[in-house]
Symmetry: C2
């Protein structure tokens, strides 16, 4: 069974670079990657915050959050 | 041909978590992942700095640097 990975971003240039090179680099045989644009999916900001996302882009992998570089603070997306 | 990815770290807990879950999540059919412990391989600190590494853990992927969370500043490893 594949593990779900969620890539949270906000459409910023830093986010796009991370998505293009990073989220796509994950092993597709092991991970189902969902890409969530928090600027467009406002309803999911609270979910991301509860999971521990402090800034975007961020990758949620098996319950852990990895903040990748820095695009925008989660507060700016509420 | 596989792309080389370099995971720079310094043995800190943040680094180890990122290595275990993150570097290992990359697609092994597309990436050859080299793990470099900058605390032990001091000679490679300059290489990492030239590539743009500001802190560890960091992943170098096709010329771009992705800083993942924050373990230690590169200055602390010189």
């Amino acid at each position: 069974m594949k593990t779900k990975a969620i890539f949270y971003h906000a459409g910023c240039p830093v986010c796009i670079a991370a998505e293009t090179q990073f989220a796509n680099a994950l092993d597709p045989t092991r991970y189902d990657v969902e890409v969530v644009h928090l600027g467009q999916a406002k309803a999911r900001v609270a979910e991301a915050e509860r999971a521990g996302v402090k800034s975007v882009p961020a990758l949620r992998l098996e319950g852990d959050i990895f903040h990748i570089n820095y695009g925008a603070s989660i507060e700016a997306l509420r």
